[in-house]
């Protein structure tokens, strides 16, 4: 059982956590300090300098098809991509958890309606919905975030509702209720802490997912203003230069990969930590 012991020690220093945080901090810090890394901003363009390979004329990552410095655009693009990822998840999380709590706790009409909406959304391909909605309301950063939140809150609502249904039957909750605690107190003090784990895991995965979605939507032409740099937009716009100017798409692609990997690893780590079954198992071995 020596192997198992060493692997347990390794689990403490956890690979997922360390590697995930490392990757994430690279992208987070570069986005936060974008104006330090690229103090001149990201929109300086010079058509004479278009598609310069990395290293030429001081463009460390080269220039894109409009002659903009890719190194300057990546940290600024990170601000947008991470905003898309975080805000869309935050909105759908708050809405979804709220509705899930209410539906699971009070059941009734709200619950029935919620479940039907969830069925509808699950049976409808996201991309088609996004195309339809954006065709109607027009594109833009906040509209994009709105579409993502519109389609994703259901995931949280369903997950939370399921857990609330089982939690409300538990002895501890029943006992608190018998002691006359208010509904709000029961929900906020006793339920929320117990169900937040899986929600956080889902959220980390969705942040990564939504950064990719933004890229897919730009590919279909539904993305944001091309003057505003975003990793997804840079990647989609670089696709025709894959064979002649690899750097245009490679660097934003790397930025996405690093971030998405980081979020996913962190999500894995959180899942391992928060899953009660997993902790039980750790004890057993």
């Amino acid at each position: 059982m020596n192997d198992r012991q060493t692997s347990r020690i390794r689990r403490r220093i956890n690979f997922d956590l360390v590697f995930g945080l490392l990757l994430l901090s690279v992208s987070l810090f570069s986005a936060l300090f974008a104006s330090l890394i690229a103090p001149l901003g990201s929109d300086a363009m010079n058509l004479a300098d278009r598609l310069k390979p990395p290293g030429v004329d001081g463009h460390l990552f080269g220039t894109d098809a409009i002659g903009r410095d890719i190194l300057a655009r990546i940290p600024h693009g990170g601000q947008i991509s991470l905003t898309v990822g975080f805000v869309s998840v935050a909105v759908s999380l708050v809405v979804g958890v709220g509705i899930g709590l209410l539906a699971g706790f009070y059941r009734g009409v709200l619950d029935v309606v919620l479940m039907r909406i969830a069925d509808v959304q699950l049976s409808f391909p996201f991309i088609l919905l996004a195309i339809t909605v954006i065709a109607v309301i027009g594109p833009g950063l906040w509209k994009l975030i709105f579409v993502m939140a519109l389609t994703q809150w259901v995931q949280y609502a369903r997950m939370v509702r399921g857990q609330v249904l089982s939690l409300r039957e538990q002895d501890a909750v029943q006992a608190t209720r018998a002691l006359g605690a208010s509904d709000a107190r029961i929900v906020l003090r006793h339920m929320l802490p117990n169900l937040i784990g899986p929600v956080i895991v889902l959220a980390t995965l969705n942040v990564a997912n939504n950064i990719l979605l933004e890229s897919g939507l730009t590919f279909l032409g539904l993305g944001i203003d091309p003057l505003i740099p975003s990793w997804g937009g840079m990647l989609a716009d670089g696709r025709n230069y894959m064979q002649t100017a690899w750097w245009v798409a490679t660097f934003p692609g790397l930025a996405i990969t690093v971030t998405v990997l980081g979020f996913n690893l962190l999500g894995d780590w959180l899942r391992d930590r928060l899953d009660p079954l997993d902790q039980g198992r750790g004890h057993e071995s």
Partner: protein
């Protein structure tokens, strides 16, 4: 299903115009021509009249006719179903073929470097946008090596790249789900008993552990099927694959309402059917479920 189509039918009518779409490529439509075709297509009537006609048609299996070429919508959909099913089935197959062995080797050696490498590898599908993965595959296997046709639906070789693109995305989640489920099962008393009976590792893994672990993964596939079809839209676009995704995409840009409504209804039906099938498959995967 009716709700889904009602929503779509309503939303898609909020902007754009099917008749102007027919004039695409022409200099300019004038008002009399627009009116004439609107009338011929029946889009001059109130929304509820149009939708009721569609809904009653849906119940009798008549989905109406395409604005674009007058063909019955049901026939258009029937033409596309093989492409979509072949793609969905083969991407599921690829993802299972990859994720089962990967998940097992990683679960058995949890915490080892194998485990880490497997999980990192399985994340590849989640780290690139699908159109990007698709174009990379085309450049490597279609252009560079010339092993596979870059696009179209000609024979079995055409299926490999689009199915791999979708399959890798599924693999990423499947490996992780299966691994987690396997770890859970492997630690149960049931397996410990099986092991202590002296059953070989292989039998324990494949016959007992895997069956139990498959259930959450299969459920998840059902939940993600709508999303999978969504991914199909982009993958079909890149690989010029004739399927329901491209049919729906074209129908949106043409505002071909009957085709869009019909396709969405069928897609919703497929998702419901797949989830039903999955419910049935529990019995096959784990015979105990029949008993209980």
């Amino acid at each position: 299903m009716l709700v889904v189509t009602l929503l779509v039918a309503f939303a898609v009518r909020l902007s754009g115009d099917p008749v102007v779409a027919l004039f695409q490529g022409a200099s300019a439509p004038n008002k009399t021509d627009l009116e004439r075709i609107r009338k011929a297509l029946g889009v001059d009537r109130p929304f509820l009249v149009q939708y009721t006609e569609f809904a009653t048609g849906l119940l009798t299996g008549n989905l109406g006719h395409s604005f674009r070429n007058g063909q019955p919508v049901s026939e258009l959909i029937r033409e596309k179903i093989p492409g979509t099913l072949v793609l969905a089935a083969s991407s599921l197959f690829i993802s299972i073929a990859l994720s089962v062995p990967l998940a097992i080797s990683s679960a058995v050696r949890k915490g080892s470097w194998v485990d880490r490498l497997v999980r990192l590898f399985s994340l590849i599908g989640l780290s690139f946008p699908n159109f990007w993965l698709a174009l990379m595959l085309i450049l490597i296997f279609g252009v560079g090596l010339r092993w596979l046709p870059p696009s179209g639906f000609e024979d079995w070789r055409s299926v490999i790249m689009p199915a791999t693109t979708l399959g890798l995305i599924l693999t990423a989640t499947n490996v992780r789900l299966l691994r987690a489920a396997l770890l859970e099962v492997l630690s149960t008393q049931y397996i410990t008993v099986a092991r202590s009976k002296g059953l070989p590792q292989r039998v324990v893994l494949y016959k007992h552990a895997l069956r139990n672990a498959a259930i959450p993964a299969v459920t998840f596939i059902g939940l993600q099927f709508g999303g999978l079809i969504g991914g199909v839209v982009i993958v079909e676009q890149v690989f010029a694959w004739p399927g329901l995704g491209s049919l729906a995409l074209n129908a949106i840009s043409q505002r071909d309402y009957p085709v869009l409504q019909g396709t969405v209804a069928v897609l919703a039906l497929v998702v419901v059917a797949v989830n039903l099938l999955i419910d049935f498959s529990y019995g096959l995967i784990d015979p105990r479920i029949n008993v209980s």
